[in-house]
């Protein structure tokens, strides 16, 4: 027991005597916050702990006994906490451990523990501080100003964001697409003796119903040849439609390029969409094509 102990005892609240230990306990409680539902609710509790405690303990370990303005302390604590989070990830990477919520938590807890111990030792060994209540009111007023500024700023920002998200926005430009579905197209598709059915999908993300004509052709080295009777269809707003092209085994051993085209009807300059694929009779050798 010495003068320092007395001064610490004299200085009052359990918080002032052992704040590093309390912060370590607080950080350990980060695990408990996992019981809260993920999202904003948990963030309100967990984010301040994650983004303040490791840094505050670092400052306590390094700068104990040196007064630092509250705002500066807060800023440095936040930045150092971010740095420790990054260093924790690096440490996990070097140790070939996966970076997860749990591993990061344990790693940061391992960092915080010695920092808290150092800060606590320095606090106990530190020079006698002023009595607890001297300047406390002034500190509270300063903290109150900063807190009020944060609350006012965040409220305005949140209000602005809410307002912006809820004012009418221009309707997004719609679109239509067609794509093969089913088995993936990977090079020439072999067609067995019973033929093949090639499914496709059409999505119409527009405000209005539209009419389309579907056609299927096959092309060889040059010209197009009809492959199937065209189909006319109407698709409503924001609707998805499935279709299929059924083909028999292609004649000979040649490769055929088949093209499915969808053309919008009733337009002065009709837009069209198409997909294609190459097919060949599975049982035929390619040199049969030349003959």
């Amino acid at each position: 027991m010495d003068a320092n102990d007395n001064s610490v005892r004299r200085s009052g609240t359990p918080w002032r005597v052992a704040w590093p230990c309390w912060l370590l306990v607080l950080f350990a409680c980060l695990a408990v916050t996992r019981m809260l539902p993920a999202g904003e609710g948990r963030a309100v509790v967990a984010a301040p702990i994650l983004l303040a405690v490791p840094g505050a303990l670092t400052l306590g370990a390094l700068l104990a006994g040196r007064n630092l303005a509250g705002v500066w302390f807060g800023c440095l604590a936040a930045l150092l906490s971010m740095i420790w989070a990054a260093f924790a990830s690096l440490a996990l990477y070097v140790l070939h451990m996966s970076i997860t919520a749990e591993s990061t938590y344990w790693c940061l807890l391992l960092i915080c523990a010695p920092l808290a111990a150092m800060a606590q030792v320095r606090l106990i060994r530190g020079r006698p501080g002023p009595p607890a209540d001297v300047g406390a009111d002034r500190l509270r007023v300063k903290a109150g100003y900063s807190l009020a500024a944060v609350v006012a700023g965040v409220a305005l920002l949140a209000g602005g964001t809410y307002g912006y998200l809820h004012v009418p926005h221009p309707v997004p430009v719609g679109y239509t697409w067609i794509a093969w579905s089913g088995a993936q197209v990977q090079g020439i598709i072999p067609v067995g003796g019973s033929g093949i059915t090639m499914p496709f999908e059409i999505e119409h993300q527009q405000a209005d119903t539209a009419a389309f004509r579907l056609t299927a052709v096959w092309t060889g080295a040059d010209r197009q040849h009809s492959l199937a009777r065209p189909v006319t269809m109407r698709i409503g707003p924001d609707q998805t439609m499935r279709g299929a092209l059924a083909i028999p085994p292609p004649p000979g051993g040649c490769t055929y390029r088949i093209v499915v085209t969808m053309t919008e009807l009733g337009q002065v300059q009709p837009q069209s969409w198409s997909i294609n694929a190459d097919v060949r009779h599975q049982g035929q050798r390619q040199n049969a094509c030349a003959s």
Binding site: T33, P37, A38, G39, R42, A43, A47, L50, T58, R66, L68, C75, L79, A86, A88, S89, T100, S103, T104, Y145, S146, A149, G153, L156, L157, G160, P172, Y175, A179, Q184, V185, Q186, G187, I188, Q205, A216, G220, A221, D222, L227, V231, M241, R242, G243, A246, I247, P248, P250, P251, G252, G253, C254, T255, Y256, R257, W273, I275, A277, D278, Q286
Partner: protein
């Protein structure tokens, strides 16, 4: 007394001029608060109006007027109270916090729900990969270098893992904190140099007028974190130098090393800048004419040691972890310098400033005006320093050396503005201003405070009001011009689709294509596409897009004329061996010129835009429909997805009519 505030401020105050005691005229504080609150709410409302107008139009300039009225309403009342002599230190810093939060609004409201800017997509992808794989350094196709600097990404990943927020929510929270902390950091740095809280807070306000503050350093990017770390590393560096030898100095050295190491793993250029600034201050501390005083050698040794540690940590990181950094950075500086030389010798023309900008003329004028204002303020600041030195108010020693070091940093801003005339150097110059304005704010803030006090000494109210109004106008010009000199309006304002704009290329159609691709083929496919499609397909789409270059000219695929073989052959071979399976084509390439001037990447051949203003790709994209080694597996209004079957097989296609009939069905 608190370290970093009153102790150093007491060393040599700038404003010792004899003024009457500050009038305690704010009897009605509540009334003042209400007035401020109304201004802030109206300012925010005007921002909303501005963005709502911008969403529906490409060139209506009303959005600019609403925006700046809003920003002036938000900022100037707060600045007015911050610089008032009556305000307490606590009130000033609280208002700086408020200012920091509210100046995040323009970027946040740009799109509160998702990334918008080019690099934001790369950082989003990197965080996603860390969370999904549990590993750092996963390759990021959009900007490969970002994955080698995981400071920001691993912090966001830790936050997301701990809270369950989405990546974007976590990033927004973190960037908001960093933005506010940056502003406070400038004030802390200024105070650690020796300014009183009023001058220090004004330095922070003046720093906020730099071109990166409102948008660039608020984006979800590693620079946004690194600039804040840099400023606070400088703060603790100055504290270490100014502390008395012993435990205090050692403690601040420890904080400096941590913050420097944090910067080194977060962003290359910021880390290098930090080492350079520390070197400049160390040099100033080593000049006897500036620094000679008791203990100056030890202070200089401390400064050089910290600079060396910072330099070594950066060099070590680059050497062992991010060796691509040098190759990534060197073209910018090299090309910028060479273009500037060509400009000086008249062998080439420079950039036309604001030539492609959608912003109004008065923003352009303010953009030029801010340099003039900064120059005048810098001259005033230099004169003030000279007077202080002559008057014995700034004796030899550490404060003088540190101030001269930061003054030199601030003066770099003026020659750097020349680089704006060079196409390659412009980007680098603009980015450097976030750094040089640290020094410029420290140099000019005392001059602004001196001017305010000089105005206060005027007996006639008309004179006082005129001077203050003039100062407010100058601040407004600096605010407008500083931002206008930074980012293009397509970055600053939301708006309709703009082809070839990094910030306005995302459409529901592109998102749908990207999601279709992901659900159909899974993540991690190698893809060839253009820059703007690649942003979405490589981020939300989780695919790996090619990075075209002279050695891997994927853009050549698009250039071949119909009827010609698609090539070159070595490229097809490389695409095949590297397992590039898909090509995505945006048909607008054939008839639109990209807003940012490039289709693929900044170093692509300039010939993609023909002299008549037409794209070289016109009439050349249809060939993919008939290329026999490609299958078109998807088409939407603008996008086509082709499966490339490489190496191309020599198949024989049917060349005459045969009986081959199938059946189409829908529903």
């Amino acid at each position: 007394m608190t370290l970093g505030t009153n102790r150093v401020a007491a060393d040599w105050q700038w404003n010792r001029s004899r003024l009457a005691p500050a009038p305690r005229s704010w009897k009605n504080v509540a009334g003042m608060a209400v007035a401020i609150a109304i201004c802030e709410i109206m300012g925010m409302e005007f921002l909303l109006i501005s963005y709502s107008i911008a969403q529906t139009t490409t060139s209506n300039q009303a959005e600019f007027a609403w925006f700046w009225i809003g920003m002036i309403l938000i900022e100037l009342p707060l600045v007015g109270i911050i610089v008032n002599r009556v305000s307490s230190e606590a009130a000033r810093y609280a208002l700086l916090i408020l200012l920091g939060i509210l100046t995040y609004a323009p970027k946040l409201l740009r799109d509160p729900t998702s990334p918008d800017y080019h690099d934001e997509f790369a950082h989003w992808r990197d965080v996603y990969d860390i969370i999904a794989t549990g590993k750092l350094f996963q390759p990021v196709p959009i900007v490969p270098i970002v994955s080698r600097y995981p400071g920001l990404h691993s912090t966001v990943a830790a936050l997301v893992n701990a809270t369950g927020l989405t990546i974007w929510q976590g990033a927004t929270l973190l960037i908001l904190m960093l933005h506010v902390t940056l502003l406070l950091g400038i004030a802390a740095l200024a105070q650690s140099i020796g300014f009183d809280s009023r001058t220090a807070a004004l330095a922070a306000v003046m720093y906020s007028f730099n071109s990166s503050f409102l948008y660039f350093d608020t984006e979800f990017g590693y620079e946004s974190m690194a600039i804040t770390l840099l400023v606070w590393a400088l703060f603790s560096f100055v504290q270490a130098i100014r502390a008395e030898p012993g435990r205090g100095r050692a403690a601040w050295c420890g904080v400096t090393v941590l913050l420097s190491a944090g910067t080194a793993v977060t962003h290359h250029l910021s880390a290098i800048n930090l080492a350079v600034i520390m070197g400049m201050v160390s040099l100033a501390l080593s000049i006897p004419a500036l620094a000679r005083r008791q203990g100056w050698v030890r202070a200089a040794v401390t400064a050089w040691t910290l600079t060396l540690i910072t330099g070594l940590s950066i060099a070590g990181w680059i050497h062992f972890v991010a060796p691509g950094t040098v190759a990534y950075l060197s073209p910018y500086l090299g090309s910028g310098l060479s273009e500037l030389m060509q400009l000086a010798t008249g062998s080439s023309g420079g950039r036309q400033l604001f030539s492609a900008s959608l912003s109004p003329w008065w923003e352009h004028q303010a953009g030029f005006g801010v340099t003039v204002i900064a120059f005048a303020a810098a001259i005033a600041g230099l004169l003030l320093i000279r007077n202080r030195i002559k008057g014995g108010l700034l004796p030899r020693g550490r404060p003088r050396s540190i101030l001269i070091g930061f003054t030199a940093l601030g003066l770099i801003y003026f020659p750097s503005t020349l680089f704006v005339l060079s196409p390659a150097g412009a980007e680098g110059a603009r980015r450097s201003w976030a750094i040089s304005w640290i020094g410029l704010a420290i140099l000019t803030a005392p001059a602004a405070v001196w001017l305010l006090d000089w105005a206060e000494r005027r007996v006639r109210a008309l004179h006082r009001i005129s001077i203050r109004t003039s100062l407010a106008v100058l601040l407004a010009i600096a605010l407008v011009g500083g931002t206008a000199a930074g980012l293009d309006p397509s970055y600053r304002f939301p708006g309709p689709f703009l082809y070839g704009s990094d910030a306005r290329s995302e459409t529901p159609e592109l998102d749908a294509m990207s999601q279709w691709f992901l659900s159909r083929f899974g993540p991690g496919n190698n893809i060839v596409t253009d820059r703007y499609t690649g942003l979405i397909i490589a981020s939300y789409g989780l695919q790996d897009t090619a990075n075209p270059s002279a050695g891997f000219p994927t853009y050549d695929l698009y250039l071949d004329k119909p009827g010609q073989p698609i090539g070159p052959a070595f490229l097809l071979e490389e695409l095949g061996s590297s397992n590039y399976l898909y090509l995505i084509v945006d048909k607008r390439m054939a008839f639109d010129i990209p807003h940012v001037g490039v289709y693929f990447e900044p170093d692509e051949p300039s010939s993609f835009v023909l002299p008549d203003g037409q794209p070289e790709f016109e009439g050349r994209l249809g060939k993919f429909n008939t290329a026999l080694w490609m299958d078109k597996v998807f088409q939407s209004d603008n996008y086509s997805v082709y499966r490339m079957n490489l190496p191309a097989a020599s198949d024989t296609y049917q060349d005459h009519a045969v009986e081959f009939q199938g059946r189409l069905s829908v529903g």
